[in-house]
Structure formats: C-alpha cells, structure tokens
C-alpha cells in the first residue's frame, strides 16, 4: 500500500512539474517569442520577462530581436567599363515580423539563404551599371600627388556622378523592398571589400610599375637639367668675371701708359734736342761693346786734340 502511495505522489509531483514548466516561459531581452497552438500562430510576445501560456497545447518559439549578421561570399562582378572585380558585401538585418518570418523562412539559416539571393542579385544589378571609379570613390576632391605628377589616365580624371556611399544606399533601398515579405528588415548593406580579379590585378601592377618608372625617370632628368643649368650659370659667371677683370685691368694699364707717356712728353718737349742728345749718349754704351770695330776720325770732339792742342 505504501508503495502505491509513493508512486501516486511521484506521479502527482511529476505532473505538477510538467505543468509548471509548460506554463511558464521566459522571454529574454534579446528575444521575441511566437506562441503557436497546434502549429497555428496565436500571438507574438516581445516584452522580456516571465510569461504564461497554456501547457502542452501551446508552444513558444523564440527568435532573435537583435540586429543579425549576413556576410556574402565574394563574387566576381564586371563593372560598366569591363573591369572584373571581387566584391565582398555584408549586411545587417533583423526580424521585425516574427510571424511572417516563421511562416516564410522558418529560421535563421533559411533567412540567410534568402538574403543571399536578394542581396547578391541587387548588388550585381547595381554595380554592373557603374564605372569602377563610381564604386571606389566617394567625392570629387582632388587627389594628392606627392610626386608632383598629374594623373594622366582617363579613367581617373572622370568626375563621379554617384559615388560609393550613394550607391550602397541605393542598393540598400532596393533590397529592402524585397525583404519585408519574409518579416525581415534590412538595416544596412555595405561593400566591405573590392579587389581586382587576378588577371586585372597583374595588369594594374604593370601599370603602376610603369607609372613609377616614368616618375623616377623624370626625377633623374630633372636632376640632370638642374645640374646643367647650374654648371651653365657657373660658366657664364666665370667668363663674365674673368673678362670684366681683364677689361678693367687693361683700362688701368692703358690709362697708366697714357699718363706716363704724357709725363714723358711734357718733360722732353721742353727741349727735344737736348733729350735726343742725352738719349743717344745714354745708349752708346749698350750699342758699342768689346767686339765692336770703331772707325773714328780725328775730327771727332773727343779725338780732335790728338792733332793739336787747340783741336783744329
């Protein structure tokens, strides 16, 4: 008899426990709960805390209330100017209508698959219509040229009409039109990464190398040019200095010569005959030396006394 009582008590306790766990359920701050009765949705509970429902008959299925992730795989997309690029987008979304959500995609992995389709398609539609520069740049501000070289390439000189930011906003708007049917609100879609496809990348690298080589060449020739200019200036200045000095020196010498000539002339002019007499006599000692043969007559002033004491 005691055993039966024990079993009866046990059963009662068990049933009570089941009733309690089946009646009460918690809704976390990050959750929203859909109560279904025999598979049919009855209500949505969003307030966090402890709630009650009918046990056994009603089920509580919880969904995330937070902003959820979506990260697309990188896909290859050709831009309008035929540049093939890898585009890696990410999105953020949330479940705004858990009922619809449950009925359409059932759970988060179903939602991810649906978002894959919607977002990839929208991104592709938009980007294939745009030039690459529209996808990369945001504004038309002038680009810094540290090497003092203007960018010559056509593809870069273009002024953008739309720009990266605007493009992603448009993609978001378009894609958001398609998600409410799944009870999903697209909070954000952004382009996380863009990169050239391998073959294009190699071409771009070659182009970058050629650009740099050209800049290096320019520096070198600028250096040569500057050097030539400096040396040319130098030559010119040297010539100028030496020739001016020569000119001045010659002027000085010339003036001195003129002055001294005048001094001589002024002096000798007083008695030119006396001067030539003096000059001649001064030069005889030099003209006449040891080996000179002198033929003199007794008529000379010096020897005339040899003939007679009176010199006649």
């Amino acid at each position: 008899m005691k055993n039966v009582k024990l079993i009866a008590v046990g059963v009662v306790v068990l049933v009570a426990l089941l009733l309690v766990t089946g009646t009460f359920y918690t809704v976390l701050e990050v959750e929203q709960v859909v109560i279904t009765q025999f598979g049919k949705p009855v209500r949505v509970v969003e307030e966090p805390g402890l709630h009650v429902k009918m046990p056994f008959i009603q089920r509580a299925t919880s969904f995330e209330k937070r902003i959820l992730e979506w990260d697309g795989r990188a896909t290859q997309i050709p831009t309008k100017d035929k540049k093939f690029i890898w585009v890696d987008t990410y999105a953020r979304w949330r479940i705004t209508d858990p009922l619809k959500f449950l009925q359409s995609v059932r759970d988060e992995s179903g939602a991810q698959a649906r978002l894959d389709n919607v977002i990839d398609a929208t991104v592709r539609d938009f980007l294939t219509e745009q030039l690459l520069i529209e996808v990369v740049r945001n504004s038309n501000r002038t680009l810094v040229q540290a090497e003092g070289e203007g960018i010559e390439r056509e593809e870069v000189k273009v002024e953008i009409q739309v720009g990266r930011e605007k493009l992603t906003r448009e993609i978001l708007n378009k894609a958001s039109e398609l998600t409410p049917q799944y009870g999903i609100e697209l909070v954000d879609v952004r382009v996380k990464r863009i990169n050239y496809v391998q073959s294009v990348r190699e071409k771009v690298f070659s182009r970058m190398i050629a650009e740099r080589d050209r800049i290096a060449e320019q520096y070198r020739s600028e250096g040569q040019g500057e050097r030539s200019k400096i040396l040319g200036d130098m030559e010119k200045n040297l010539l100028q200095i030496t020739s001016e000095a020569y000119k001045t020196a010659q002027e000085i010498r010339g003036e001195a010569d003129a002055r001294s000539t005048k001094t001589y002339a002024d002096a000798y002019r007083r008695d030119p005959e006396f001067y030539s007499f003096l000059k001649a006599l001064e030069s005889y000692p030099e003209a006449i030396g040891e080996e000179t043969w002198l033929f003199l007559t007794t008529d000379s002033d010096f020897f005339k006394y040899l003939k007679s004491s009176s010199g006649r």
Binding site: V144, F205, Y219, E226, T248, A249, I288
Partner: protein, 340 residues
C-alpha cells in the same frame, strides 16, 4: 571489506525510517542552502559593470564590488567591461606566445589589400581600439558585436582609402585617413546601436603591394639621385666662382700695381730729366761737352779694335785685316755690342 559493508548496511538498517527521512531532509536542506547562497552573490571587477536580468528581463546595472541577486537563476548577472580598451587588428596579428597563428598570409592580405581613388592598389595594416560605452546596448542590440566592429572598420577603411590617391595614403595623408576611418566606423556602429565607442584607429604598415615595391623604391632613389646631382653642381659652382672672383681681384691689383709703377717711373724719369735740363740751361755748352766726354771715356776703353784715322785718309779700309774677324762679315761693325 565485506565485514565493513555489512556493518554499514546493518547500521542503516538499524536506523528507524523516521530518522532516515529526517536525515535526508536535513541533507537536502544543506545542499539547497549552499546552492541558494552560491547563486545569490556575485562580484563585479573594477573595470566592469554588472547587468542584471530577471527571467531574462533587464532590471538594473550594478557597479564594481560584491552584490546580491535573486538565487537559482531567477536573476542572472552579466559582466561587461566598460573601461578596458579592446582592440581589433587588420592585416596582421600580434603573435601571442604559445598560440599559433591560425590565419594564413592569404587571408591577412585579403584584409589589407585595397583600391585607392586613383584605381591603384595599396596594402594597409591597421588597429581599431574601442570600448563599451553603453553596456545595455552592447548586450541587447547587436548580435556578435566583435564581427560587426570588424565589418564596419574594413568598410570604413576602404571607403576612406578609396577617396585618396596611393601617394597620399602612403605619405602625407596618413593621419587624416586614420581620423576619417575612426569617424566613419563610429557612425556605422552608432547606426546599429552597438554601444561601442571607437577610441582610436591607428595605421600600422602602409605599403605598395610587393610586386610594385621595387618600382616605388626606385622613385625614392631617383629623387635622391636628383638631389645629389644638384648638390654636386652647386658645390662645383660654389668652389669655382669665388675662386674666379679672387683671380679677378688679383688681375686688377696687378694692373694697379703696374699702373703705379709705370706712372711713378715716368714721373721719376721726367723729374730727373727736368733737373738735368735746368742745370743744362744754365751752362749749355759746358754741360754738353761734359756729358759727351764722360760717355766716350766710358765706351772707348772697352772697345778692342779702335781705328783712329785722319779724316783725309780714304784708302785705309783696304789695308785692314777685316777677314780675321768673326765670319768675315764686312757690312757693319757688328759685334756683341751691336745686339740688343
């Protein structure tokens, strides 16, 4: 030991049922009491706050220290660091001792390779430092906040770099880039209500991609070559021109010296002449003779062959031994004295 088992079993059998029941209840009570106490207390570290949920609903935030809460999981305390600065790395990972890097170089390069505004390619490594500014938002608004920070930061970096030239990003715009990325990242994170505060964004290595690096380096080398060429030329200039000026000075000074010498000599000669002449004018005849005689007296002794002939005598030339002279040259009495 069978003997001891039996003893315990006997002992248990000996305890009357009521006492068994009571023992059980006491034991259970002790366990419950311990569990009660253990789940009623929690501590919050100095750099964190505690966010308390009751049945999953937010009820309060607690400061650092020891606190009480409702036991048995009725209330749950989640601890959120609010003053600690956390960081995310992009393009590289700081190695921790004993932890092998899981990421491959390929994957790291994917994070750092990006397009610039002039459609070139650059490699950027960077760090984002952040902290939690709103613990409730951090816990309840966004799932996987860390990944969201990463996505937002990569997006912001590419957006900012995509608006600048490769030259700018590599050199003078680095600081601007870091600031803009911090701002953009914060805007995105705020739009999601993530409760995250971006403290700073720091650029680490910013380089051109490996295949292109030599070309970029050669530009720097060429720049240096240019500087060097110019410096050498300037050096040559600065050596030659002053030297030439010095030489020019010297030339002019020499000319001046010559000028002074010439003029002085002329004045000296003129003065000497004039003095002599003044004397001469006082006694002309006598002075002339004197000068003449003095000169002859000086010359004549030196001359070896003197022929003093009577002026009437005309035929003497034929008799002279002119052939003995040097080379038999008869035209003029040319000796060494005749040459100047």
């Amino acid at each position: 030991m069978a003997f001891e088992e039996e003893n315990i079993q006997d002992y248990l059998k000996k305890i009357p049922p009521q006492q068994m029941g009571r023992l059980g209840v006491i034991g259970l009570g002790v366990i419950v009491a311990i569990a009660f106490l253990a789940s009623s207390f929690y501590s919050v570290a100095a750099d964190s706050v505690g966010v308390v949920l009751r049945f999953g609903e937010y009820v309060r935030t607690t400061q650092p220290g020891l606190h009480m809460k409702m036991p048995f999981g009725i209330e749950k305390a989640i601890k959120v660091p609010v003053t600690r600065i956390l960081s995310q790395e992009f393009g590289f990972r700081t190695g921790r001792p004993g932890v092998r890097t899981v990421r491959s170089r390929e994957a790291l390069l994917d994070e750092s390779l990006m397009l610039t505004g002039d459609l070139n390619v650059v490699v950027v490594d960077w760090i984002v430092q952040y902290k939690v500014k709103d613990p409730r938002a951090f816990l309840f608004n966004v799932q996987n906040v860390e990944e969201t920070i990463r996505d937002a930061s990569e997006t912001a970096m590419r957006q900012v770099v995509g608006n600048r030239s490769v030259d700018g990003v590599l050199t003078i715009e680095r600081i601007e880039v870091a600031e803009d990325v911090a701002q953009n990242t914060q805007e995105i994170l705020d739009a999601y209500g993530s409760g995250i505060q971006v403290v700073t964004v720091k650029l680490q290595d910013v380089t051109p991609p490996d295949p292109v690096k030599p070309a970029f380096n050669s530009v720097n080398e060429a720049k240096q070559e240019k500087e060097q060429l110019i410096n050498e030329a300037m050096k040559e200039y600065n050596t030659a021109v002053p030297k030439a000026s010095g030489d020019a000075e010297r030339t002019i000074k020499e000319a001046e010296g010559y000028a002074i010498g010439r003029v002085n000599r002329a004045e000296g000669d003129a003065s000497r002449f004039l003095s002599l002449w003044r004397q001469y004018t006082l006694a002309q005849d006598v002075t002339r003779r004197r000068i003449y005689m003095e000169t002859m007296a000086e010359i004549l002794p030196k001359v070896k062959r003197k022929y003093i002939v009577d002026e009437e005598e005309k035929g003497i030339l034929r008799l002279l031994p002119l052939g003995e002279a040097a080379g038999g040259d008869q035209r003029s009495p040319k000796g060494e004295g005749g040459e100047r």
